[in-house]
């Protein structure tokens, strides 16, 4: 696989794992081109083996959240950020509420917080197993 094919696989994997969606081809193309132009680099940040996560179908969202919380700026967060920017600009993910909905909002926020806590714990477990070489 050449580098661009790897990026295509990576982006599809991020979109499906994080947002359960299949991006349109032009957005995939934007991800590949932006990556090739050096929008995402590992300069001054912790490098994370994203290929390993994709190849082993691991929960990329959990690992990213754990790393962002406890490691700080890292390559995986940068890749996810690129994906989220492209999905927001291409209106693939909805970030603006059109109608007021107070109770729905509280339900969604509670659900989001519970998911986040579970993801953080899951991410921590995966990083632990990886470090102990159990996942390798």
């Amino acid at each position: 696989m050449n580098l661009n094919d790897i990026r295509v696989t990576e982006f599809h994997y991020i979109c499906s794992k994080a947002f359960n969606l299949t991006p349109p081809p032009y957005v995939v193309n934007q991800y590949v081109t932006a990556s090739a132009q050096g929008v995402v680099t590992d300069n001054n940040c912790r490098n994370i083996d994203v290929g390993f996560l994709v190849d082993n179908q691991l929960d990329i969202v959990s690992v990213e959240f754990f790393c962002r919380t406890f490691v700080g700026d890292n390559l995986l967060t940068r890749k996810l950020k690129l994906a989220v920017y492209l999905l927001e600009i291409s209106a693939q993910i909805e970030v603006d509420r059109e109608e007021s909905a107070f109770f729905t909002a509280f339900y969604e926020l509670t659900k989001s917080l519970v998911i986040s806590i579970l993801k953080l714990a899951g991410g921590g477990l995966m990083v632990y197993l990886y470090k102990r070489s159990i996942l390798l």
């Binding site: 934007q30 929008v39 919380t69 950020k81 927001e88 291409s90 603006d96 509420r97 969604e108 926020l109």
Partner: protein, 524 residues
């Protein structure tokens, strides 16, 4: 060779105001003068329309070269400077504006209109309290404030903040606010007295953004494109004044000229590089006014004197950002027709004996991804959180008074690059007090959420060539703006500030430039 009465170096707020004060004289303005891509003008619908339509807004929101994604791996640029059509504001060839600084975020502008192309347009008068370290008084600036407010077109109100901002006869109605800001303001009005006791005042922002037609400019259209579209007509930039003076034959403007040094004799010789032709040119004038911005003006003066040793002071307002949530607004629909600058505050902190100025910004008109990764949640739920929380959020920017310090300096290196050394000061006790007081208005935050942008991020650079009643150094200026040790070179931008009050400095830079120019105009 043509001899001008005055040459103005730079076309930012100070340059425009100086040109305004020199009508009737033979004036040349030299500027690098980058301009926005004309394609930007074609975007005239609401920001959210571009955002919701698949790839309709890609060029505007993402950029041909993915400019909007700059902050992923590069040093932070504020949203207005990283937007694709706004990149011209700080775009420069590396040889023009290279600054070596590990701890100071220096953004220099070579655009026509300068950094004002990306300003928040808060235009406030200094009062005598702000000017106490200046060798001039409010009365010296007052007529110039008046004239500039009429030139610019100002929206706002003589409300509770009038005590701090000064009352003005030239105000148009305030801009439309969102529901959240209206809620906060009405709560404040009910509890006003207790807030006053704590030194707190909240009111309408005073902005160079018009709510009614003014001098042929259309009023604010609330399209929320301020972060992405350059030169939105309702938002004043110095370009409006410069273009009007050019059209009226009051000003000759040459762009593509980078002024390298100025020799001062009976006649001033301005040496500029023609960036298009790659040749050196000379221009003659009786007087020169340097208005290139505090950093570039200092560089020009040091370079003209071949001084590679002197360290000049530099200041920038310390800035902190505090996100607030108003719980009852969680889950509201996003406001798509209001201006992002919602409310302002002034806090006279008795214990710390300082005045703090703040602005509440709504999160409209920016990409949610710019902020989402600051939330302590998993990426998969970020859109849900953003959708529900952002309409209930206001981000308070707090600016602090800054004094010169021996730790904060700039100097010119032998290769003509600038070096800046800066130590940022934080003010956590004041922020904690502000958070606690604002809880009384239903605004919730926590001191752990406070963000401190890198030093230099206010872009309120000042104080490199301070104005003194009796200058003692060749890098200080006289009250009339004249550079000490020079007969015909004047400085009229933020360089001349001896201290930097918390209030936004832009209108005072312009008022002082107008004052200096009027003095020179009377002589030539």
């Amino acid at each position: 060779m043509k001899l001008y009465d005055v040459i103005i170096v730079g076309a930012g707020p100070a340059g425009a105001a100086a040109a305004l004060g020199l009508q009737g004289s033979k004036v040349l303005m030299l500027d690098v003068g980058h301009q926005p891509d004309p394609l930007a003008k074609s975007y005239d619908e609401n920001y959210y329309k571009y955002k919701s339509a698949s790839n309709k807004g890609d060029e505007l929101l993402l950029g041909r070269n993915y400019e909007s994604l700059h902050n992923i791996s590069q040093p932070y640029l504020m949203p207005k400077l990283k937007a694709p059509f706004q990149r011209y504001v700080t775009q420069a060839r590396s040889e023009l504006g290279k600054v070596i600084s590990p701890d100071f975020n220096t953004q220099l502008s070579y655009a026509k209109g300068g950094l004002a192309n990306a300003w928040g347009a808060q235009l406030l008068r200094y009062d005598d309290d702000d000017l106490k370290e200046f060798p001039i008084e409010y009365a010296d600036l007052e007529p110039h404030y008046e004239e500039l407010e009429q030139e610019i077109g100002l929206s706002g109100a003589n409300d509770d903040l009038g005590v701090i901002y000064g009352s003005s006869k030239n105000l148009q109605a305030p801009l439309e606010k969102g529901k959240l800001a209206k809620k906060i303001l009405s709560r404040y009005k009910r509890k006003k007295k207790s807030f006053h006791k704590k030194g707190f005042r909240i009111g309408e922002p005073r902005l160079g953004v018009i709510s009614e037609s003014h001098k042929g400019r259309r009023p604010a259209d609330y399209n929320n494109l301020e972060f992405f579209k350059p030169n939105v007509e309702a938002n004043y930039t110095p370009i409006f004044t410069i273009d009007r003076l050019i059209a009226e034959g009051e000003l000759e403007y040459l762009c593509g000229r980078y002024v390298e040094n100025i020799s001062d004799d009976d006649i001033c010789v301005v040496h500029a590089r023609n960036l298009c032709l790659g040749i050196d040119e000379q221009y003659l004038a009786k007087k020169v006014i340097i208005c290139a911005g505090a950093v570039n003006s200092a560089k020009l003066v040091l370079k003209s004197r071949c001084d590679y040793e002197t360290r000049l002071p530099i200041m920038d307002n310390s800035l902190s950002l505090i996100p607030f949530v108003e719980v009852s607004s969680i889950g509201s629909a996003l406001e798509k027709k209001s201006y992002y600058n919602q409310l302002c505050l002034a806090y006279e902190c008795e214990d710390d004996k300082q005045r703090v100025i703040g602005t509440f910004y709504a999160l409209t008109g920016v990409l949610a991804t710019d902020l989402m990764f600051d939330l302590p949640v998993a990426a998969s739920v970020m859109p849900l959180i953003a959708k529900n929380i952002f309409p209930a959020m206001l981000v308070l920017h707090l600016w602090y008074e800054t004094l010169p310090s021996s730790q904060n300096w700039l100097s010119l290196m032998a290769d003509n690059q600038l070096q800046i050394n800066y130590k940022q000061i934080t003010n956590k006790p004041i922020e904690k007090k502000a958070i606690s007081i604002l809880r009384g208005l239903g605004l919730i935050s926590h001191s752990k959420l406070i963000q401190y942008p890198e030093a230099g991020s206010s872009f309120h650079y000042a104080g490199t060539l301070p104005m003194k009643k009796e200058p003692t150094s060749p890098y200080q200026t006289w009250v009339d703006g004249r550079l000490n040790g020079s007969n015909n070179i004047f400085v009229a931008d933020g360089s001349i500030f001896p201290v930097l009050p918390a209030k936004n400095l832009s209108l005072t830079i312009m008022a002082n430039a107008l004052r200096v120019a009027r003095g020179i105009g009377a002589k030539v």
